[in-house]
Structures are given as structure tokens and as C-alpha cells.
């Protein structure tokens, strides 16, 4: 029996398996984007009263950097037992000109990626329990 796939955090991403997107905010006056949701105003100085609307962010960008963690992080990270190394990638979104962190998608070997290459957003499992798989965004190289 397959488990329910639920977002690891509510309201941060669309659960579209084919074309997932992060849900950010656009300040239409200054043209600045924000993610994630925190204080619901534009953080561009002088634009605190700007119109502020939720937008789905572009899901393509260029790899800014990456690192593989070989030690188990402290809580609240939910680690598989035994711990498995995982890679965190930083990707600069093409349209929004902002760098977004995310884990590298399962099955991608960090030895095969390089700074500057085109990446795309996918859904992946962050952790699971008896009932649910908790889903988060991950980064994957765009297939050539």
C-alpha cells in the first residue's frame, strides 16, 4: 500500500509532480521576489507599502554551488537510520535572480554536477513515517 504524499511544509510549494514550483511573493513596484513567506511585506527598502502578491517562482536556474554533508545534522533534521550523506545545492533562478537552496534530487551523483549548469526543480521525499511521505523541493540537472 502506498503512503500519502504530503508537503513537508504547508504553503511553500505546489505539489504538481510534473512541474512543481515554489510559492513566493512579488513586490510589483520594485520588481523584487521573495521566498519563503515570512513577514508579509516587501523587504526592498522604501517599498514596505508596495502591492505584494503570491506568485509561483520559475523552476529553472543555474547551479551556484553545492556541498555534500557527511555527518548527521542535529534535530530537527529527520535522518534515515543509518544516516546517509546528502547534497545541498544552491541554484540561482533565471527570472527572479535569487539563489534558492535545496537538496540535490535522489540518484544524482554530486560528482557529476558543476557550477553554472542548468538545474530544474523536482519533488522528492524529505523523510517518511508509517503513514506519510513528506515531500520537499529538490534540484536536479536538466537532461541534455
Amino acid at each position: 500500500m502506498s503512503k500519502n504524499r504530503v508537503p513537508a511544509i504547508e504553503g511553500w510549494l505546489t505539489m504538481d509532480e510534473e512541474n512543481p514550483q515554489l510559492l513566493g511573493y512579488l513586490d510589483e513596484q520594485s520588481g523584487s521576489y521573495f521566498f519563503p513567506k515570512d513577514v508579509a511585506i516587501s523587504h526592498a527598502p522604501g517599498f514596505a507599502d508596495a502591492e505584494f502578491k503570491e506568485v509561483a517562482l520559475s523552476n529553472r536556474g543555474k547551479l551556484w554551488s553545492y556541498t555534500t554533508n557527511h555527518y548527521k545534522p542535529p534535530e530537527p533534521y529527520v535522518s534515515p537510520d543509518p544516516f546517509e550523506p546528502y547534497t545541498v545545492a544552491a541554484v540561482e533562478l533565471n527570472d527572479e535572480r535569487m539563489v534558492v537552496l535545496g537538496q540535490l534530487a535522489d540518484g544524482v551523483d554530486p560528482a557529476d554536477v558543476e557550477v553554472g549548469q542548468e538545474m530544474q526543480l523536482v519533488l522528492g521525499t524529505l523523510y517518511e513515517d508509517d503513514e506519510n511521505e513528506y515531500v520537499i523541493w529538490k534540484w536536479k540537472p536538466v537532461e541534455a
Binding site: 513537508a8 554551488s65 556541498t67 545534522p73 542535529p74 545541498v88 535572480r97 535569487m98 535545496g102
Partner: protein, 397 residues
């Protein structure tokens, strides 16, 4: 002499380590050493600033009061402040502005910490509105994760190698071995560093700063007071930078998920890290070419290379060449981290930026013993605290 100069009459530190005692004990040892160094008594002090620690319960949140009480209440005004790793610079800035406003003459600045073992972790509980909690939960983004991202980018952009990163650790271990206040006093070889386990690739265990116990204190006075006290040529603080980033900040930093967006407003000419020491240089009216030594925040070995560029010792992409030339070793043109840096100390958060200034004080007085930088007249510190706290102190003599 700049109109903003204040004098450092005393510097003191408790040795860094993993002693497991009350943090206030380290601070008191540091205060007493700094007072003795200044030739002053506790009753002479008319203001105290304590750098807060977040890991030692309530006494840590009100460090100014904790240290004033420990030394014996004398009724003086106190201040406590917190700016993560930049706490010490902020404490120094509070002290000197009070002095420059004519509201104090003799000020003690102190920071101390007792740290738990292992990774620094967020506060406990289901803290779904706390970005520091969320980055561990959703990404597993520990502090070394960010160090690893910056290091890997240097490799891809500028051709830094694992050997370069190891060489920083080796250099600083040679410096720190002669420092009685350091925690780690062992000279490492490149082979040993490169044989240590990967933590956040490409960075290895011996290249990532540990968390330590320790305490550091300064006695800071007005220039007039120093003169009256018979010190004609004290080490002076000529510039202090406690700046924050300018929007949009486009370099990913702890504890964030994203950078600011540069889609609407262009990134500033100078990045945040490039602005930190620059502000201190501007205030002091000098430039990086005048600097004889620097103490920079080597949270990872690789990060020291970034700082070479950020504080203006070389252009972007030239830090590896500067390192390989040997210029940043003691005896070289511009020694960096003659104290041994975080690689030999580990981090005692609220004490660290003060400790950097203690080292400059001893260096500019010619009291640094085997690690002395010959003829040092001007020194600069650089550091950065979580959530956008710049920290740089410019000292001269």
C-alpha cells in the same frame, strides 16, 4: 589621529578550551587580566558592556549585569548586546560611542561562552516560523553546509584546490602553537588535514571551526584618560564597523533559504562582505595597503581566502596566489591570523571579536612573543555574524 579614536589600555583572555565551567568564570578571568594590564582597578570602571551568550540561560542574555555582579556591584550603568559572531564588535562600538559622547572614561568590554559539543543547533520545539529551525528541518543546512557552498564555488570559479584549504589550516596551526591563549596547539601537516574525514565537501573535519569555551576582555578609555594615566602612545581603535547588508544581498548566507532577488533592484557595487572592513577603513581614513596584519574569521579554512579579498588584501580570484606566495604567514608581507585564528581557538561566540582585538593590541605593542609581526603599526579584524551583522575593528599605534 582621528576624532573617533579611543585607547585600548588593557587586554585579557581566558584560554580557549572545553572546560565545561560557568561562562562567567572565563569572563572574570579575562576582565581581571585586562584590568591588571591597564594598571586600573574595578572601582575605576564607569561602564561595562557584556556580549551575550544564547547557550547559558538567563545570565547569558544579560551578560553586562552578570559580569558586573560577578566583579561586585558598584552601581555603574551597564549594557548587554548580541549580534551572533559579531557580538564583540558591537560591544566595542557601544563602549566607544559612550566614551566619545563624553559619558564614560573607563569602560570594560567582555564576552565569554560555554559551548555544547558538536554542531550548533537551533532552539528546541516545533518552531515552524523560525528560519533557523526550518533550515535544519527542511534542508539539513548546518552551518558547515554554507561553508562548503562557499568553498566549492571558489574551486569552480577561481581554481582553489583542496591543498590550498589545507595549507590555510597548516599556516594557522604554526601561528597558534606559540599562543598561550589558544585551545589547539599542534602543528598540522597538509597530509594530516587531507586525511581527516569530509564534513561538508570539499571541507574536512580539521578545516572547520570547533565550538569552544573562552573569554576575552578589553579596557577601553578616552584618549584624554590614557594621557592622564601616563600612556602617551596607546593602541588606538580608529574605526569600528557594525554594518548590515544593503538590499539586495546576493550571496547566500546562514540561516537563509534564499538570497535577496536582484530582479528589480540591482545588487550594490560592493557585496556585504566586501563592505565590512571597508567601513572601518573609511572611518579611520586609511586603506588596506596601510595594514600590517589582519585577524579574520576562518570559520572554515577556505573562508580565510574569501576574507583576503573582502578586506582588500588582493582582488577577487587572487587569494589563492596570495596564500601560495607565503605573504600571509608570519614573516610574510601581510600576516593573517597570527593568533592562530579560529582554527586554533574554535569559536566562543560572544568572545571572538573581542579576542581578535586582544591579538591586535598585543601585536601593535610588540608583546606577541614568538608570533610577533615585526614592526606592526596597523591591524584590522573582520568577522560576520548570523542574520547580517558585519564586524570589523581597525587598530593603530
Amino acid at each position: 589621529m582621528s576624532k573617533n579614536d579611543v585607547a585600548i589600555l588593557g587586554a585579557g583572555m581566558h584560554q580557549w578550551g572545553k572546560w565545561g565551567r560557568n561562562f562567567a568564570e572565563y569572563g572574570v578571568v579575562a576582565i581581571k587580566e585586562a584590568m591588571a594590564d591597564a594598571g586600573l582597578e574595578w572601582k575605576d570602571v564607569d561602564f561595562i558592556v557584556g556580549g551575550d551568550t544564547m547557550r547559558n540561560g538567563y545570565p547569558g542574555y544579560v551578560a553586562g549585569a552578570t559580569f558586573a555582579k560577578a566583579m561586585g556591584w558598584t552601581g555603574i550603568p551597564i549594557a548587554s548586546c548580541y549580534a551572533a559572531c559579531a557580538t564583540g564588535a558591537q560591544a566595542i562600538d557601544i563602549a566607544r560611542t559612550r566614551i566619545l559622547a563624553g559619558m564614560a572614561e573607563v569602560v570594560v568590554v567582555v564576552g565569554a561562552d560555554t559551548t555544547p559539543k558538536g554542531f550548533l543547533a537551533p532552539n528546541k520545539g516545533e518552531r515552524t516560523l523560525d528560519p533557523d529551525w526550518l533550515r535544519f528541518r527542511l534542508l539539513g543546512a548546518t552551518n558547515p553546509t554554507y561553508f562548503g557552498l562557499w568553498a566549492q564555488r571558489r574551486m569552480d570559479l577561481y581554481g582553489a584546490t583542496e591543498q590550498d584549504f589545507a595549507r590555510i589550516k597548516v599556516k594557522n596551526s604554526k601561528h597558534g602553537v606559540a599562543n598561550p591563549k589558544a585551545r589547539y596547539k599542534k602543528i598540522f601537516s597538509e597530509e594530516e588535514v587531507l586525511a581527516s574525514p569530509l564534513v561538508s565537501a570539499p571541507l574536512r573535519l580539521f578545516e572547520i571551526c570547533a565550538t569552544s569555551d573562552g573569554g576575552a576582555a578589553l579596557v577601553i578609555t578616552s584618549m584624554d584618560f590614557a594621557k592622564k594615566h601616563g600612556i602617551a602612545n596607546p593602541v588606538r581603535i580608529s574605526g569600528v564597523s557594525t554594518i548590515s547588508p544593503t538590499f539586495p544581498n546576493t550571496v547566500i548566507d546562514m540561516p537563509d533559504f534564499t538570497t535577496d532577488s536582484a530582479a528589480g533592484i540591482s545588487a550594490p557595487d560592493r557585496s556585504f562582505r566586501d563592505s565590512i572592513a571597508y567601513a572601518a577603513y573609511q572611518e579611520a581614513g586609511i586603506g588596506p595597503e596601510d595594514v600590517d596584519l589582519a585577524e579574520v574569521y576562518d570559520l572554515s579554512s577556505a573562508l580565510e581566502l574569501d576574507w583576503y579579498e573582502n578586506i582588500g588584501l588582493c582582488k577577487p580570484g587572487e587569494a589563492e596566489a596570495l596564500l601560495r606566495s607565503g605573504d600571509t604567514e608570519i614573516g610574510g608581507r601581510i600576516p593573517v591570523n597570527p593568533s592562530g585564528g579560529l582554527g586554533c581557538f574554535g569559536e566562543a561566540v560572544p568572545a571572538q571579536a573581542i579576542a581578535q582585538v586582544c591579538e591586535l593590541t598585543w601585536q601593535l605593542r610588540g608583546q606577541a612573543g614568538e608570533r610577533q609581526v615585526e614592526g606592526a603599526k596597523v591591524g584590522v579584524t573582520a568577522n560576520q555574524g548570523l542574520f547580517g551583522h558585519g564586524s570589523s575593528v581597525l587598530c593603530s599605534r
